[in-house]
Amino acid sequence: MKFLHLVYANILRKKMRFFLTIGSFGVALFLFGILVAIHNGFYQGIDAVEDNRLVVRNKTSLMVFLPYSYKAKIEAMEGVEYVIPSVWFAGVYQDRKNFFSQFAIETAGWVETYPEYAIDKDQWSAFENDRQGCMVGRALAEKFGWEIGDRIPLEGTIFPGAWEFNICGIFEGNKKNVDLNQMWIRYEYLAESIPFMKGQVGWYAVKAIHTDYVNGLISRIDGEFSNSPAETKTEPEKIWMLGFVKQMGNIKLILISVGGVVIFTLLLVTGSTMAMSVRERTSEWATLKTLGYGDTLVLGLVLGESFFYAIIGGAIGLGLACLFVSKGDPTGMMGGLFTLSPDNIFAGLTLTLITGFIAGVLPAISAMKLRIVDALRRV
Protein backbone atom coordinates (compact mmCIF):
# COMPACT_ATOMS: atom_id res chain seq x y z
CA MET A 1 0.00 0.00 0.00
CA LYS A 2 2.85 2.38 0.72
CA PHE A 3 3.86 2.00 -2.93
CA LEU A 4 0.46 3.20 -4.11
CA HIS A 5 1.64 6.77 -4.06
CA LEU A 6 4.40 5.96 -6.56
CA VAL A 7 1.93 4.20 -8.88
CA TYR A 8 -0.44 7.12 -8.64
CA ALA A 9 2.27 9.75 -9.19
CA ASN A 10 3.52 7.89 -12.26
CA ILE A 11 0.06 7.63 -13.75
CA LEU A 12 -0.56 11.35 -13.38
CA ARG A 13 2.82 12.16 -14.91
CA LYS A 14 1.28 12.93 -18.28
CA LYS A 15 -2.20 14.37 -17.87
CA MET A 16 -3.16 13.90 -21.50
CA ARG A 17 -2.14 10.26 -21.50
CA PHE A 18 -3.96 9.77 -18.21
CA PHE A 19 -7.25 11.13 -19.52
CA LEU A 20 -7.00 9.35 -22.87
CA THR A 21 -6.29 6.00 -21.26
CA ILE A 22 -9.00 6.39 -18.64
CA GLY A 23 -11.27 7.53 -21.45
CA SER A 24 -10.50 4.43 -23.53
CA PHE A 25 -11.45 2.16 -20.66
CA GLY A 26 -14.48 4.32 -19.91
CA VAL A 27 -15.85 4.28 -23.45
CA ALA A 28 -15.21 0.55 -23.90
CA LEU A 29 -16.86 -0.42 -20.62
CA PHE A 30 -19.76 1.93 -21.23
CA LEU A 31 -20.32 0.16 -24.53
CA PHE A 32 -19.97 -3.19 -22.83
CA GLY A 33 -22.72 -2.19 -20.39
CA ILE A 34 -25.05 -1.06 -23.15
CA LEU A 35 -24.45 -4.22 -25.21
CA VAL A 36 -25.17 -6.40 -22.19
CA ALA A 37 -28.36 -4.43 -21.50
CA ILE A 38 -29.44 -4.93 -25.12
CA HIS A 39 -28.68 -8.62 -24.83
CA ASN A 40 -30.75 -8.76 -21.64
CA GLY A 41 -33.54 -6.92 -23.37
CA PHE A 42 -33.73 -9.59 -26.05
CA TYR A 43 -32.90 -12.78 -24.24
CA GLN A 44 -33.51 -12.39 -20.52
CA GLY A 45 -37.28 -12.83 -20.75
CA ILE A 46 -36.71 -16.07 -22.61
CA ASP A 47 -34.59 -17.47 -19.78
CA ALA A 48 -37.50 -16.94 -17.41
CA VAL A 49 -39.89 -19.07 -19.49
CA GLU A 50 -41.04 -22.38 -17.96
CA ASP A 51 -39.98 -25.51 -19.82
CA ASN A 52 -43.39 -27.21 -19.63
CA ARG A 53 -45.15 -24.74 -21.93
CA LEU A 54 -45.85 -25.08 -25.64
CA VAL A 55 -47.19 -22.70 -28.21
CA VAL A 56 -49.45 -23.93 -31.00
CA ARG A 57 -49.80 -21.62 -33.98
CA ASN A 58 -50.91 -21.78 -37.57
CA LYS A 59 -48.29 -23.49 -39.72
CA THR A 60 -48.74 -20.97 -42.54
CA SER A 61 -47.99 -17.86 -40.55
CA LEU A 62 -48.52 -16.23 -37.22
CA MET A 63 -50.79 -13.83 -39.06
CA VAL A 64 -53.23 -16.60 -39.84
CA PHE A 65 -55.60 -17.63 -37.07
CA LEU A 66 -56.49 -21.09 -35.73
CA PRO A 67 -60.04 -22.35 -35.12
CA TYR A 68 -61.31 -22.13 -31.55
CA SER A 69 -62.49 -25.71 -31.90
CA TYR A 70 -58.90 -26.96 -31.54
CA LYS A 71 -58.97 -26.02 -27.86
CA ALA A 72 -61.10 -28.94 -26.78
CA LYS A 73 -59.20 -31.39 -28.99
CA ILE A 74 -55.85 -30.40 -27.51
CA GLU A 75 -57.25 -30.42 -23.97
CA ALA A 76 -58.31 -34.03 -24.46
CA MET A 77 -54.74 -35.16 -25.17
CA GLU A 78 -52.79 -37.02 -22.50
CA GLY A 79 -50.39 -34.84 -20.57
CA VAL A 80 -52.15 -31.56 -21.32
CA GLU A 81 -53.20 -29.55 -18.28
CA TYR A 82 -54.39 -26.22 -19.72
CA VAL A 83 -54.99 -24.76 -23.17
CA ILE A 84 -55.25 -20.98 -23.35
CA PRO A 85 -56.43 -19.15 -26.47
CA SER A 86 -54.38 -15.98 -27.05
CA VAL A 87 -54.34 -13.10 -29.51
CA TRP A 88 -51.83 -10.35 -30.20
CA PHE A 89 -53.80 -7.13 -29.83
CA ALA A 90 -51.32 -4.47 -31.00
CA GLY A 91 -53.13 -1.37 -29.74
CA VAL A 92 -51.47 2.03 -29.56
CA TYR A 93 -51.51 4.02 -26.34
CA GLN A 94 -51.49 7.74 -27.20
CA ASP A 95 -48.44 7.44 -29.46
CA ARG A 96 -46.71 4.66 -31.41
CA LYS A 97 -43.57 5.35 -29.41
CA ASN A 98 -45.30 4.04 -26.28
CA PHE A 99 -45.02 0.50 -27.53
CA PHE A 100 -45.81 -2.38 -25.17
CA SER A 101 -47.19 -5.90 -25.64
CA GLN A 102 -50.91 -6.55 -25.23
CA PHE A 103 -52.26 -10.09 -25.12
CA ALA A 104 -55.90 -10.99 -25.31
CA ILE A 105 -56.24 -14.20 -23.27
CA GLU A 106 -58.75 -16.53 -21.71
CA THR A 107 -58.43 -16.36 -17.96
CA ALA A 108 -59.09 -20.01 -17.11
CA GLY A 109 -55.83 -21.75 -16.20
CA TRP A 110 -53.71 -18.64 -16.84
CA VAL A 111 -52.52 -18.19 -13.26
CA GLU A 112 -51.55 -21.88 -13.03
CA THR A 113 -49.81 -21.85 -16.42
CA TYR A 114 -47.77 -18.71 -15.75
CA PRO A 115 -46.49 -19.04 -12.17
CA GLU A 116 -43.69 -16.53 -12.83
CA TYR A 117 -46.23 -13.73 -12.35
CA ALA A 118 -47.24 -12.70 -8.85
CA ILE A 119 -50.97 -11.99 -9.19
CA ASP A 120 -53.24 -10.80 -6.40
CA LYS A 121 -56.26 -13.14 -6.00
CA ASP A 122 -58.85 -10.40 -5.56
CA GLN A 123 -57.51 -8.36 -8.47
CA TRP A 124 -57.59 -11.46 -10.64
CA SER A 125 -61.22 -12.24 -9.84
CA ALA A 126 -62.09 -8.62 -10.60
CA PHE A 127 -60.43 -9.15 -14.00
CA GLU A 128 -62.41 -12.36 -14.52
CA ASN A 129 -65.61 -10.51 -13.78
CA ASP A 130 -65.00 -7.49 -16.03
CA ARG A 131 -65.05 -8.22 -19.76
CA GLN A 132 -63.46 -4.82 -20.42
CA GLY A 133 -60.92 -5.37 -17.69
CA CYS A 134 -57.17 -5.56 -18.04
CA MET A 135 -54.14 -6.50 -15.99
CA VAL A 136 -50.91 -4.49 -16.33
CA GLY A 137 -47.33 -5.18 -15.26
CA ARG A 138 -45.80 -3.13 -12.48
CA ALA A 139 -43.17 -1.55 -14.78
CA LEU A 140 -45.80 -0.47 -17.26
CA ALA A 141 -48.05 1.00 -14.56
CA GLU A 142 -45.13 2.95 -13.14
CA LYS A 143 -44.04 4.17 -16.55
CA PHE A 144 -47.41 5.72 -17.33
CA GLY A 145 -48.50 6.45 -13.76
CA TRP A 146 -51.48 4.09 -13.99
CA GLU A 147 -53.46 2.93 -10.99
CA ILE A 148 -56.12 0.34 -10.40
CA GLY A 149 -59.48 1.67 -11.57
CA ASP A 150 -57.97 3.82 -14.34
CA ARG A 151 -59.51 3.55 -17.79
CA ILE A 152 -56.90 3.06 -20.50
CA PRO A 153 -57.72 4.09 -24.07
CA LEU A 154 -56.01 2.09 -26.87
CA GLU A 155 -56.25 2.79 -30.58
CA GLY A 156 -56.69 -0.51 -32.39
CA THR A 157 -54.51 -1.40 -35.39
CA ILE A 158 -55.25 -5.02 -36.33
CA PHE A 159 -58.61 -4.60 -34.63
CA PRO A 160 -59.75 -1.10 -35.56
CA GLY A 161 -61.59 1.20 -33.22
CA ALA A 162 -61.10 3.19 -30.03
CA TRP A 163 -60.87 0.63 -27.25
CA GLU A 164 -60.99 1.23 -23.50
CA PHE A 165 -59.93 -1.06 -20.72
CA ASN A 166 -60.35 -0.88 -16.94
CA ILE A 167 -57.28 -1.68 -14.89
CA CYS A 168 -58.34 -4.46 -12.51
CA GLY A 169 -54.92 -5.31 -11.19
CA ILE A 170 -51.19 -4.79 -11.36
CA PHE A 171 -48.98 -7.88 -11.44
CA GLU A 172 -45.37 -8.36 -10.37
CA GLY A 173 -42.72 -10.98 -11.04
CA ASN A 174 -42.13 -14.02 -8.87
CA LYS A 175 -38.56 -14.28 -10.12
CA LYS A 176 -35.93 -12.26 -11.92
CA ASN A 177 -36.27 -11.15 -15.55
CA VAL A 178 -40.03 -11.42 -15.77
CA ASP A 179 -41.36 -8.95 -18.34
CA LEU A 180 -43.55 -6.51 -16.41
CA ASN A 181 -44.06 -4.26 -19.41
CA GLN A 182 -47.14 -5.98 -20.74
CA MET A 183 -50.92 -5.80 -20.61
CA TRP A 184 -53.45 -8.61 -20.61
CA ILE A 185 -57.01 -8.15 -21.84
CA ARG A 186 -59.92 -10.55 -22.16
CA TYR A 187 -60.13 -12.79 -25.25
CA GLU A 188 -63.92 -12.98 -24.89
CA TYR A 189 -64.26 -9.20 -25.19
CA LEU A 190 -62.20 -9.13 -28.41
CA ALA A 191 -63.98 -12.14 -29.94
CA GLU A 192 -67.38 -10.57 -29.30
CA SER A 193 -66.51 -7.09 -30.52
CA ILE A 194 -64.80 -8.09 -33.76
CA PRO A 195 -66.94 -10.19 -36.11
CA PHE A 196 -64.01 -11.79 -37.97
CA MET A 197 -62.52 -13.00 -34.67
CA LYS A 198 -65.51 -15.15 -33.84
CA GLY A 199 -64.29 -18.71 -33.35
CA GLN A 200 -60.68 -17.72 -34.13
CA VAL A 201 -57.60 -17.48 -31.94
CA GLY A 202 -54.09 -16.22 -32.61
CA TRP A 203 -52.35 -19.13 -30.93
CA TYR A 204 -52.75 -21.53 -28.04
CA ALA A 205 -50.55 -21.57 -25.00
CA VAL A 206 -50.44 -25.16 -23.75
CA LYS A 207 -49.29 -26.25 -20.31
CA ALA A 208 -48.10 -29.84 -20.09
CA ILE A 209 -48.47 -31.71 -16.80
CA HIS A 210 -44.76 -32.37 -16.92
CA THR A 211 -41.86 -31.46 -19.21
CA ASP A 212 -41.56 -35.18 -20.11
CA TYR A 213 -44.72 -34.80 -22.20
CA VAL A 214 -43.45 -31.82 -24.20
CA ASN A 215 -41.77 -33.65 -27.09
CA GLY A 216 -44.56 -36.19 -27.47
CA LEU A 217 -47.16 -33.44 -27.50
CA ILE A 218 -45.43 -31.54 -30.27
CA SER A 219 -45.78 -34.44 -32.71
CA ARG A 220 -49.21 -35.44 -31.42
CA ILE A 221 -50.73 -31.97 -31.81
CA ASP A 222 -49.20 -31.30 -35.22
CA GLY A 223 -50.16 -34.82 -36.32
CA GLU A 224 -53.74 -34.38 -35.17
CA PHE A 225 -54.25 -31.31 -37.37
CA SER A 226 -52.17 -32.30 -40.37
CA ASN A 227 -54.12 -32.43 -43.63
CA SER A 228 -56.70 -30.07 -42.13
CA PRO A 229 -57.36 -26.59 -43.54
CA ALA A 230 -55.49 -25.06 -40.58
CA GLU A 231 -52.35 -27.08 -39.98
CA THR A 232 -50.44 -26.28 -36.78
CA LYS A 233 -46.86 -25.71 -35.79
CA THR A 234 -46.15 -26.54 -32.17
CA GLU A 235 -42.96 -25.48 -30.37
CA PRO A 236 -41.74 -25.07 -26.80
CA GLU A 237 -42.47 -21.49 -25.72
CA LYS A 238 -38.74 -20.76 -25.34
CA ILE A 239 -38.04 -21.69 -28.95
CA TRP A 240 -41.04 -19.69 -30.06
CA MET A 241 -39.74 -16.56 -28.33
CA LEU A 242 -36.23 -17.09 -29.65
CA GLY A 243 -37.79 -17.14 -33.09
CA PHE A 244 -38.95 -13.55 -32.60
CA VAL A 245 -35.49 -12.45 -31.62
CA LYS A 246 -33.99 -14.30 -34.61
CA GLN A 247 -36.32 -12.47 -36.96
CA MET A 248 -34.33 -9.37 -36.13
CA GLY A 249 -31.07 -11.05 -37.15
CA ASN A 250 -28.45 -12.85 -35.15
CA ILE A 251 -28.39 -10.34 -32.35
CA LYS A 252 -26.10 -12.38 -30.14
CA LEU A 253 -23.47 -12.59 -32.88
CA ILE A 254 -23.70 -8.86 -33.55
CA LEU A 255 -23.34 -8.02 -29.87
CA ILE A 256 -20.39 -10.37 -29.39
CA SER A 257 -18.64 -9.08 -32.53
CA VAL A 258 -19.06 -5.44 -31.59
CA GLY A 259 -18.03 -6.11 -27.99
CA GLY A 260 -15.04 -8.17 -29.11
CA VAL A 261 -13.78 -5.50 -31.47
CA VAL A 262 -14.16 -2.83 -28.80
CA ILE A 263 -12.23 -4.82 -26.20
CA PHE A 264 -9.54 -5.79 -28.72
CA THR A 265 -9.08 -2.14 -29.69
CA LEU A 266 -8.91 -1.21 -26.02
CA LEU A 267 -6.19 -3.82 -25.54
CA LEU A 268 -4.13 -2.47 -28.42
CA VAL A 269 -4.48 1.13 -27.26
CA THR A 270 -3.75 0.56 -23.58
CA GLY A 271 -1.13 -2.10 -24.29
CA SER A 272 0.91 0.24 -26.47
CA THR A 273 0.39 3.12 -24.04
CA MET A 274 1.70 1.01 -21.19
CA ALA A 275 4.63 -0.24 -23.26
CA MET A 276 5.55 3.31 -24.21
CA SER A 277 5.22 4.72 -20.73
CA VAL A 278 7.33 1.92 -19.25
CA ARG A 279 10.03 2.26 -21.89
CA GLU A 280 10.29 6.00 -21.34
CA ARG A 281 11.21 5.35 -17.73
CA THR A 282 13.90 2.73 -18.29
CA SER A 283 16.45 4.59 -16.17
CA GLU A 284 13.92 5.05 -13.37
CA TRP A 285 13.22 1.33 -13.17
CA ALA A 286 16.98 0.77 -13.10
CA THR A 287 17.29 3.29 -10.28
CA LEU A 288 14.56 1.58 -8.25
CA LYS A 289 16.30 -1.76 -8.75
CA THR A 290 19.59 -0.25 -7.68
CA LEU A 291 17.90 0.93 -4.49
CA GLY A 292 16.89 -2.66 -3.79
CA TYR A 293 13.48 -2.91 -5.42
CA GLY A 294 13.13 -6.57 -6.34
CA ASP A 295 11.80 -8.11 -9.53
CA THR A 296 8.31 -8.90 -8.25
CA LEU A 297 7.92 -5.44 -6.78
CA VAL A 298 8.83 -3.81 -10.11
CA LEU A 299 6.43 -6.19 -11.86
CA GLY A 300 3.73 -5.20 -9.39
CA LEU A 301 4.37 -1.48 -9.79
CA VAL A 302 3.86 -1.65 -13.56
CA LEU A 303 0.80 -3.88 -13.29
CA GLY A 304 -0.47 -1.54 -10.59
CA GLU A 305 -0.45 1.33 -13.07
CA SER A 306 -2.30 -0.75 -15.61
CA PHE A 307 -4.90 -1.85 -13.05
CA PHE A 308 -5.30 1.71 -11.84
CA TYR A 309 -6.29 2.86 -15.33
CA ALA A 310 -8.54 -0.15 -15.76
CA ILE A 311 -10.38 0.22 -12.46
CA ILE A 312 -10.98 3.96 -12.68
CA GLY A 313 -11.86 3.96 -16.38
CA GLY A 314 -13.93 0.80 -16.10
CA ALA A 315 -15.85 2.07 -13.08
CA ILE A 316 -16.64 5.35 -14.82
CA GLY A 317 -17.78 3.53 -17.98
CA LEU A 318 -19.93 1.02 -16.11
CA GLY A 319 -21.34 3.76 -13.90
CA LEU A 320 -22.40 5.77 -16.93
CA ALA A 321 -23.87 2.65 -18.52
CA CYS A 322 -25.97 2.02 -15.38
CA LEU A 323 -27.16 5.60 -15.47
CA PHE A 324 -28.03 5.34 -19.14
CA VAL A 325 -29.83 2.01 -18.72
CA SER A 326 -31.77 3.26 -15.70
CA LYS A 327 -33.45 5.77 -18.00
CA GLY A 328 -34.99 2.85 -19.89
CA ASP A 329 -34.71 1.39 -23.34
CA PRO A 330 -34.46 4.34 -25.76
CA THR A 331 -35.95 2.34 -28.65
CA GLY A 332 -38.96 1.15 -26.67
CA MET A 333 -38.55 -2.27 -28.25
CA MET A 334 -37.01 -4.24 -25.45
CA GLY A 335 -39.45 -3.37 -22.73
CA GLY A 336 -38.52 -3.57 -19.06
CA LEU A 337 -35.75 -6.09 -19.57
CA PHE A 338 -33.26 -3.47 -20.77
CA THR A 339 -31.40 -3.69 -17.47
CA LEU A 340 -28.01 -4.39 -15.91
CA SER A 341 -27.84 -6.84 -13.04
CA PRO A 342 -25.18 -6.85 -10.31
CA ASP A 343 -23.84 -9.95 -12.05
CA ASN A 344 -23.44 -7.96 -15.26
CA ILE A 345 -21.58 -5.19 -13.41
CA PHE A 346 -19.35 -7.78 -11.80
CA ALA A 347 -18.65 -9.31 -15.22
CA GLY A 348 -17.77 -5.84 -16.52
CA LEU A 349 -15.36 -5.22 -13.65
CA THR A 350 -13.76 -8.62 -14.24
CA LEU A 351 -13.42 -7.81 -17.93
CA THR A 352 -11.79 -4.46 -17.22
CA LEU A 353 -9.35 -6.07 -14.78
CA ILE A 354 -8.43 -8.82 -17.22
CA THR A 355 -7.91 -6.20 -19.94
CA GLY A 356 -5.78 -4.15 -17.56
CA PHE A 357 -3.74 -7.22 -16.76
CA ILE A 358 -3.14 -8.21 -20.38
CA ALA A 359 -2.28 -4.64 -21.36
CA GLY A 360 0.22 -4.37 -18.50
CA VAL A 361 1.77 -7.78 -18.29
CA LEU A 362 4.28 -7.59 -21.16
CA PRO A 363 5.61 -4.13 -20.24
CA ALA A 364 5.72 -5.30 -16.61
CA ILE A 365 7.80 -8.33 -17.52
CA SER A 366 10.16 -6.23 -19.62
CA ALA A 367 10.63 -3.80 -16.69
CA MET A 368 11.20 -6.75 -14.39
CA LYS A 369 13.80 -8.32 -16.67
CA LEU A 370 15.64 -5.06 -17.24
CA ARG A 371 19.31 -5.40 -16.32
CA ILE A 372 20.43 -2.44 -14.25
CA VAL A 373 23.80 -1.97 -15.95
CA ASP A 374 22.34 -1.96 -19.43
CA ALA A 375 19.54 0.37 -18.47
CA LEU A 376 21.82 2.87 -16.75
CA ARG A 377 24.19 2.94 -19.73
CA ARG A 378 21.37 3.85 -22.08
CA VAL A 379 20.75 7.18 -20.37
Partner: protein, 240 residues
Protein backbone atom coordinates in the same frame (compact mmCIF):
# COMPACT_ATOMS: atom_id res chain seq x y z
CA UNK B 1 45.42 2.01 3.91
CA UNK B 2 44.32 0.89 0.46
CA UNK B 3 46.36 -1.94 -1.01
CA UNK B 4 46.59 -3.53 -4.43
CA UNK B 5 48.45 -6.59 -3.12
CA UNK B 6 46.36 -9.73 -3.55
CA UNK B 7 47.84 -11.51 -0.51
CA UNK B 8 47.57 -8.78 2.08
CA UNK B 9 44.87 -7.73 4.51
CA UNK B 10 42.37 -10.51 5.08
CA UNK B 11 40.63 -8.23 7.54
CA UNK B 12 39.88 -5.64 4.85
CA UNK B 13 36.39 -4.09 4.72
CA UNK B 14 36.17 -4.71 0.98
CA UNK B 15 38.45 -7.21 -0.67
CA UNK B 16 38.58 -7.82 -4.42
CA UNK B 17 40.57 -10.80 -5.81
CA UNK B 18 41.46 -11.62 -9.41
CA UNK B 19 38.35 -9.86 -10.72
CA UNK B 20 37.53 -10.52 -14.38
CA UNK B 21 34.73 -8.91 -16.30
CA UNK B 22 34.12 -9.57 -19.96
CA UNK B 23 31.38 -7.93 -21.99
CA UNK B 24 30.23 -9.64 -25.15
CA UNK B 25 29.02 -7.48 -27.96
CA UNK B 26 27.96 -9.69 -30.83
CA UNK B 27 30.95 -11.81 -31.78
CA UNK B 28 33.62 -9.67 -30.13
CA UNK B 29 34.23 -9.70 -26.41
CA UNK B 30 35.80 -6.91 -24.38
CA UNK B 31 37.96 -7.80 -21.40
CA UNK B 32 37.13 -4.82 -19.21
CA UNK B 33 38.65 -6.03 -15.95
CA UNK B 34 41.57 -8.46 -16.12
CA UNK B 35 42.44 -9.91 -12.73
CA UNK B 36 41.98 -6.84 -10.61
CA UNK B 37 42.99 -6.90 -6.92
CA UNK B 38 42.05 -4.38 -4.27
CA UNK B 39 41.78 -4.16 -0.47
CA UNK B 40 39.89 -1.32 1.15
CA UNK B 41 39.70 -0.50 4.83
CA UNK B 42 36.52 0.74 6.47
CA UNK B 43 36.15 4.50 6.31
CA UNK B 44 38.57 4.94 3.42
CA UNK B 45 37.85 7.46 0.68
CA UNK B 46 39.17 6.28 -2.70
CA UNK B 47 39.05 8.00 -6.04
CA UNK B 48 39.27 6.04 -9.29
CA UNK B 49 40.56 7.75 -12.38
CA UNK B 50 41.35 6.52 -15.83
CA UNK B 51 40.47 6.99 -19.46
CA UNK B 52 36.92 6.73 -20.60
CA UNK B 53 35.95 3.11 -21.20
CA UNK B 54 38.68 1.79 -18.88
CA UNK B 55 36.12 0.01 -16.67
CA UNK B 56 35.73 2.40 -13.73
CA UNK B 57 31.94 2.22 -13.76
CA UNK B 58 32.11 -1.54 -14.25
CA UNK B 59 34.29 -1.88 -11.13
CA UNK B 60 31.90 0.22 -9.03
CA UNK B 61 28.90 -1.76 -10.32
CA UNK B 62 30.55 -5.04 -9.39
CA UNK B 63 31.48 -3.87 -5.88
CA UNK B 64 27.96 -2.43 -5.46
CA UNK B 65 26.35 -5.68 -6.54
CA UNK B 66 24.40 -4.39 -9.53
CA UNK B 67 26.50 -6.54 -11.83
CA UNK B 68 28.30 -9.85 -11.40
CA UNK B 69 31.90 -10.73 -12.38
CA UNK B 70 32.88 -13.49 -14.79
CA UNK B 71 35.43 -14.71 -12.28
CA UNK B 72 37.22 -13.59 -9.14
CA UNK B 73 35.79 -12.77 -5.73
CA UNK B 74 34.39 -9.74 -3.98
CA UNK B 75 34.19 -9.97 -0.21
CA UNK B 76 32.52 -7.31 1.91
CA UNK B 77 32.80 -7.64 5.70
CA UNK B 78 33.61 -11.32 5.25
CA UNK B 79 30.65 -12.00 2.96
CA UNK B 80 31.18 -13.21 -0.62
CA UNK B 81 28.80 -11.07 -2.67
CA UNK B 82 29.89 -12.42 -6.06
CA UNK B 83 28.12 -15.71 -5.40
CA UNK B 84 24.85 -14.37 -4.00
CA UNK B 85 21.62 -15.07 -5.84
CA UNK B 86 20.07 -12.16 -7.64
CA UNK B 87 17.41 -11.57 -5.00
CA UNK B 88 19.89 -11.97 -2.12
CA UNK B 89 22.16 -9.49 -3.87
CA UNK B 90 19.26 -7.06 -4.21
CA UNK B 91 18.58 -7.28 -0.48
CA UNK B 92 22.26 -6.98 0.37
CA UNK B 93 22.57 -3.88 -1.82
CA UNK B 94 19.64 -2.13 -0.22
CA UNK B 95 21.23 -2.56 3.22
CA UNK B 96 24.91 -1.97 2.64
CA UNK B 97 25.42 0.30 -0.35
CA UNK B 98 24.35 3.81 -1.28
CA UNK B 99 24.67 4.84 -4.94
CA UNK B 100 25.28 8.35 -6.23
CA UNK B 101 25.10 8.87 -10.00
CA UNK B 102 26.31 11.56 -12.35
CA UNK B 103 22.76 12.26 -13.54
CA UNK B 104 21.33 12.15 -9.98
CA UNK B 105 18.64 9.64 -11.08
CA UNK B 106 15.87 11.09 -8.97
CA UNK B 107 12.27 10.12 -9.70
CA UNK B 108 10.85 13.29 -11.30
CA UNK B 109 7.27 12.77 -10.10
CA UNK B 110 8.28 12.48 -6.46
CA UNK B 111 9.35 15.40 -4.29
CA UNK B 112 12.62 15.50 -2.36
CA UNK B 113 11.10 13.90 0.72
CA UNK B 114 9.49 11.08 -1.27
CA UNK B 115 12.65 10.44 -3.28
CA UNK B 116 14.69 10.04 -0.12
CA UNK B 117 11.99 7.84 1.37
CA UNK B 118 12.14 5.33 -1.52
CA UNK B 119 14.74 2.97 0.02
CA UNK B 120 12.90 3.04 3.36
CA UNK B 121 9.68 1.75 1.81
CA UNK B 122 11.48 -1.58 1.55
CA UNK B 123 12.07 -1.73 5.31
CA UNK B 124 9.71 -2.49 8.16
CA UNK B 125 9.87 1.09 9.44
CA UNK B 126 6.50 2.73 10.03
CA UNK B 127 5.51 6.05 8.59
CA UNK B 128 6.65 8.12 11.58
CA UNK B 129 10.02 6.34 11.73
CA UNK B 130 10.51 6.82 8.01
CA UNK B 131 9.72 10.49 8.33
CA UNK B 132 12.35 10.86 11.03
CA UNK B 133 15.02 9.14 8.98
CA UNK B 134 14.22 11.14 5.85
CA UNK B 135 14.31 14.43 7.75
CA UNK B 136 17.63 13.52 9.33
CA UNK B 137 19.15 12.66 5.94
CA UNK B 138 17.84 15.81 4.26
CA UNK B 139 19.06 17.85 7.21
CA UNK B 140 22.51 16.31 6.84
CA UNK B 141 22.75 17.46 3.21
CA UNK B 142 21.37 20.89 4.10
CA UNK B 143 18.01 20.59 2.35
CA UNK B 144 15.63 20.42 5.30
CA UNK B 145 13.78 23.41 3.84
CA UNK B 146 13.34 21.87 0.39
CA UNK B 147 11.49 18.68 1.30
CA UNK B 148 8.39 19.46 -0.74
CA UNK B 149 10.32 20.53 -3.82
CA UNK B 150 10.29 18.42 -6.96
CA UNK B 151 13.53 17.68 -8.82
CA UNK B 152 12.70 20.18 -11.57
CA UNK B 153 12.37 22.89 -8.91
CA UNK B 154 15.91 22.26 -7.64
CA UNK B 155 19.33 23.22 -8.98
CA UNK B 156 21.72 20.50 -10.13
CA UNK B 157 23.71 20.75 -6.92
CA UNK B 158 20.55 20.50 -4.84
CA UNK B 159 19.35 17.51 -6.86
CA UNK B 160 22.64 15.75 -6.20
CA UNK B 161 22.30 16.51 -2.49
CA UNK B 162 18.83 14.92 -2.51
CA UNK B 163 20.40 11.90 -4.24
CA UNK B 164 23.09 11.78 -1.55
CA UNK B 165 20.39 11.93 1.15
CA UNK B 166 18.66 9.02 -0.59
CA UNK B 167 21.94 7.07 -0.66
CA UNK B 168 22.45 7.75 3.06
CA UNK B 169 19.01 7.23 4.46
CA UNK B 170 19.45 3.49 5.06
CA UNK B 171 22.75 4.20 6.80
CA UNK B 172 24.87 2.00 4.47
CA UNK B 173 28.55 1.51 5.20
CA UNK B 174 29.60 1.99 1.57
CA UNK B 175 28.94 4.96 -0.72
CA UNK B 176 29.59 4.45 -4.44
CA UNK B 177 29.79 7.65 -6.44
CA UNK B 178 30.08 7.50 -10.24
CA UNK B 179 31.25 10.92 -11.41
CA UNK B 180 29.09 12.69 -8.82
CA UNK B 181 30.19 16.13 -9.98
CA UNK B 182 30.32 15.35 -13.71
CA UNK B 183 27.16 17.29 -14.44
CA UNK B 184 27.73 20.20 -12.06
CA UNK B 185 29.37 23.63 -12.25
CA UNK B 186 32.55 24.24 -10.24
CA UNK B 187 30.84 25.81 -7.26
CA UNK B 188 28.21 23.10 -6.88
CA UNK B 189 30.90 20.48 -7.47
CA UNK B 190 32.94 21.87 -4.61
CA UNK B 191 29.88 21.83 -2.36
CA UNK B 192 29.15 18.21 -3.21
CA UNK B 193 32.79 17.19 -2.70
CA UNK B 194 32.79 18.92 0.68
CA UNK B 195 29.69 16.99 1.62
CA UNK B 196 31.11 13.63 0.50
CA UNK B 197 34.34 14.34 2.35
CA UNK B 198 32.39 15.10 5.52
CA UNK B 199 30.45 11.85 5.18
CA UNK B 200 33.72 10.00 4.91
CA UNK B 201 35.37 11.67 7.88
CA UNK B 202 32.41 12.32 10.22
CA UNK B 203 30.15 9.36 9.42
CA UNK B 204 33.01 6.98 8.69
CA UNK B 205 31.51 5.88 5.36
CA UNK B 206 33.71 3.96 2.97
CA UNK B 207 33.57 6.06 -0.19
CA UNK B 208 34.53 4.83 -3.66
CA UNK B 209 34.34 7.59 -6.23
CA UNK B 210 34.92 7.58 -9.96
CA UNK B 211 35.88 10.98 -11.32
CA UNK B 212 37.53 12.74 -14.24
CA UNK B 213 38.02 15.87 -12.19
CA UNK B 214 41.51 16.19 -10.58
CA UNK B 215 40.14 18.76 -8.13
CA UNK B 216 37.48 16.31 -6.93
CA UNK B 217 40.05 13.50 -6.80
CA UNK B 218 42.18 15.58 -4.45
CA UNK B 219 39.48 15.25 -1.78
CA UNK B 220 40.07 11.48 -1.59
CA UNK B 221 42.56 9.76 0.70
CA UNK B 222 44.03 7.94 -2.29
CA UNK B 223 43.65 8.01 -6.04
CA UNK B 224 43.81 4.78 -8.07
CA UNK B 225 44.30 4.61 -11.81
CA UNK B 226 42.54 2.03 -13.87
CA UNK B 227 44.32 1.09 -17.06
CA UNK B 228 44.01 -1.95 -19.33
CA UNK B 229 41.76 -3.73 -16.85
CA UNK B 230 43.91 -3.44 -13.74
CA UNK B 231 44.71 -0.82 -11.12
CA UNK B 232 48.18 0.39 -11.90
CA UNK B 233 49.28 2.86 -9.25
CA UNK B 234 48.20 4.34 -6.01
CA UNK B 235 49.07 7.88 -5.10
CA UNK B 236 48.89 8.44 -1.40
CA UNK B 237 47.85 11.96 -0.60
CA UNK B 238 48.41 14.11 2.36
CA UNK B 239 45.34 14.21 4.56
CA UNK B 240 43.07 17.24 4.10
Amino acid sequence: MVSLNPSSADNAHISVRELHKIYKRGSESIDVLRGLNLNIQAGEFLAFMGPSGSGKTTLLNLIGGIDVPNSGTITVDGQRIDSLSSSALTRWRSRHVGFIFQMFNLIPVLNAFENVEMPLLLTRLNKAQRRKHVETALDLVGLADRMKHYPRQLSGGQEQRVAIARALVNDPSILLCDEPTGDLDRESANEIMGLIQRLSSEQNKTVLMVTHDPVAAKCADSVLHLEKGVLVEAIAQAQG
